[in-house]
């Protein structure tokens, strides 16, 4: 589904990703761990094609196609969706407008989405539909707004940047379920189509989402791979110090 090959990415004139290789198969969910500033957000942004994350070297493939030169909107239309760690507010534009637009983009390729209102209600966002996009939203509301937009979009590759940070326990459960919906994890394994790449610090989300593989990103490079729970346990016990040595 997603192949990242020798990716080097520059942000604000500074080399942040220094050669990243990663593969997420169809229906797989991977988690991305790593210390602050390690480059996790940068990797997701680069996969999404955000212009300020400049690819210096390497390539990104989606469903076998080289998408390195595509703009984010083209990538979104191909089926990539992202939950931002720090989504901006857009004044004067309603959450509802964006959700509608996103849903119409999706409908070209997918069966029609369940009603907007229904999805909003599930995420306790009914009253936010007619508010300005992300404007004045609390930390938890921002995460749910992002989740809501993704559910409307229903992408095949889901990039989630810290979906549970700053979210209270009840809402982590809500978001966990929504992620499972996005990834189609409720259905039979054979029917799993969507793939996920999830950045997490707390690992809370692993209680709800069945991840297949984990990667640790340190200083712009993947330091190690492994079973996500094992990796997370290791990090909980020893921090990222050991990872650096096993690089």
């Amino acid at each position: 589904m997603l192949v990242v090959e020798g990716l080097q990415v520059e942000v604000g004139g500074k080399l942040i990703l220094k050669g990243v290789d990663l593969e997420v198969g169809t229906g797989e969910t991977h988690v991305l761990l790593g210390p602050n500033g390690g480059g996790k957000t940068t990797l997701l942004m680069a996969v999404m094609g955000m212009p300020r994350y400049r690819v210096i070297k390497g390539a990104v493939y989606f469903k076998g196609k080289d998408i390195t030169a595509l703009t984010p909107d083209a990538r979104a239309r191909l089926g990539i969706g992202m939950m931002f760690q720090k989504p901006p507010a857009v004044r004067g534009v309603k959450l509802r407008e964006i959700a509608q637009t996103v849903a119409s983009v999706r409908e070209a390729a997918h069966p029609p989405a369940p009603s907007l209102e229904g999805i909003a209600e599930r995420l306790n966002l009914s009253e936010h539909l007619d508010r300005e996009l992300n404007y004045g939203f609390s930390g938890g509301e921002l995460k749910r707004s992002e989740m809501f937009q993704l559910l409307c979009q229903a992408p095949e590759l889901v990039l989630l940047d810290e979906p549970e940070s700053g979210v209270d326990l009840d809402n982590v459960a809500l978001i966990g379920e929504a992620i499972n919906d996005l990834l189609g994890k409720r259905g039979k394994i054979k029917e799993r189509k969507a793939s996920g790449l999830i950045v997490t610090h707390t690992g809370h989300i692993l209680r709800y989402v069945n991840a297949d593989r984990g990667h640790i990103l340190i200083d712009g490079k993947i330091a190690c791979h492994g079973n996500p729970r094992d990796l997370f346990e290791e990090v909980q016990k020893h921090g990222y110090g050991r990872c650096e040595s096993c690089r």
Partner: protein, 429 residues
């Protein structure tokens, strides 16, 4: 004196005024005949002439389709559905005034000249919140034949449907001289929309519009002016509002089409305790437009408060001045000014000039925020990540920037103006 005789002949509309008052007003106007306005380009008034006579109409539906179309594009509905009343002036000709039957007895609409003749209280208000000697435009207005709308909402009446007025220029190089008086009697409320526009084939002209608003205790007026001119028109509105105790004056101004030059700086005098004024301005500067639009709130009453919000875009080779003044003369008063601008392209110019003045009101609180900046690239890219192409993302954000919702309009008016924003936006991208 022959000059005076002549004036009195042409200005039949002012025959209601007492001759000593008329003489005094003329004297002041005469003294300001050549007085340049404080802002914007100076206009040679001799380049314009008074237009021809146009016959009255019994129905707005009977007007030519092309005229109806421009009316609609300025928020005036020729079908009059959902309107409490209508007033239409073509050049100097009042061609239509009508109060919707269900509102008869709640408000009145007539040519201001008739009102001057009929009502002593209207005569007492003439030129009291705008000065005839403010500049050459006010002077011109006083010294020439003038018409305009007189709208009065009677005490305690709530007029839910908007009252509409349309001021139309219909001849090349015509000067349209308008003087309006609007009175909201005690405890009444109304929406008044004033659409100013031109017949489609007319290319040049000058519009001088004096508007005096009187908001009596506890009354509320929402006044929305939509300007829809062409690239060769000069426009000089001169507006003032007097707001009494507990009264609210909301003034919305919308300019989304090119204009040669527009200069306006309406003032609200918050005289009564607890009175309130809100100015909302949406401006889209296009082509070679020279736009200078401000608003001023004078806080004179205890607990008076005001807000002036301006959203302006300068594009192409346009020059946009966004001004605002808050003047406190009363200790217990507060007001805020919020002025934001976007400049598209490197040939457009914008100036945001907020001013705060306190005259012996040390406890009053005046504040402002002003910003000119591009559309946030981060926001554009965020929307792109949702599958929205760059152009559309920019459109969405721009449209959101010119947010009509701030005006607090009735649904129908709001969606009409939102549609105008969308059209302008689509055409200009």
């Amino acid at each position: 004196m022959p000059v005076e005789r002549e004036l009195e002949d042409v200005r039949r509309s002012l025959r209601g005024l007492d001759s000593s008052l008329l003489r005094e007003l003329d004297r002041r106007a005469e003294a300001a005949r050549e007085k340049k306005a404080a802002y914007s380009l100076d206009i040679d008034l001799r380049a314009f002439h008074e237009g021809e006579a146009v016959a009255r109409t019994d129905s707005l539906e009977a007007l030519p389709d092309e005229v109806k179309a421009v009316m609609l594009a300025s928020g005036v509905d020729p079908s009059e559905s959902g309107r409490a009343g209508s007033y239409v002036q073509v050049g100097k000709n009042v061609i239509y005034e009508r109060v919707n039957q269900i509102y008869s007895g709640k408000l009145e609409i007539m040519d201001v000249g008739d009102a001057l003749e009929k009502y002593p209280d209207v005569r007492d208000l003439w030129w009291t919140v705008v000065a005839p000697d403010q500049d050459k435009y006010t002077a011109f207005s006083q010294l020439h034949d003038v018409h305009g709308y007189f709208v009065r909402v009677f005490e305690g009446q709530e007029v839910e449907l908007p009252v509409q007025s349309c001021l139309l220029l219909h001849e090349n190089a015509e000067v349209q001289n308008v003087h309006n008086i609007v009175i909201l009697e005690k405890g009444s409320s109304a929406h008044l929309i004033s659409g100013c526009t031109t017949s489609p084939r007319v290319k040049t002209g000058l519009h001088i519009g004096i508007s005096e608003f009187f908001v009596r205790p506890g009354a509320k007026l929402t006044f929305t002016m939509v300007h829809n001119w062409g690239p060769e028109f000069h426009v000089r509105p001169r507006s003032g509002a007097l707001v009494e105790e507990g009264g609210t004056f909301i003034s919305n101004y919308v300019l989304l089409k090119p204009v040669k030059s527009l200069q306006t700086y309406p003032v609200a005098y918050l005289r009564g305790r607890g009175s309130r004024a809100v100015f909302n301005t949406l401006i889209y500067g296009l082509e070679n437009s020279h736009i200078d639009a401000g608003s001023k709130i004078v806080l004179e009453g205890e607990d008076s408060s005001g807000e002036a919000v301006s959203r302006a875009i300068a594009q192409d080779k346009s020059v946009v001045y966004a001004r605002g003044t808050l003047l406190a003369r009363q200790n217990r008063s507060r007001a805020h000014l919020d002025c934001r601008g976007i400049v598209f392209g490197d040939e457009a110019q914008m100036f945001a000039i907020p001013e705060l003045e306190s005259e012996g009101a040390p406890q009053s609180l005046l504040s402002h925020e002003a910003a000119i900046g591009p559309i946030s690239e981060e926001e554009v890219e965020y929307l792109m990540a949702r599958g929205i192409p760059r152009d559309e993302a920019v459109s969405l954000i721009t449209r959101g920037f010119l947010d009509v919702r701030i005006m607090g309009l009735p649904q129908a008016l709001e969606s009409a103006i939102r549609k105008m924003v969308e059209i302008t936006q689509r055409e200009s991208m």
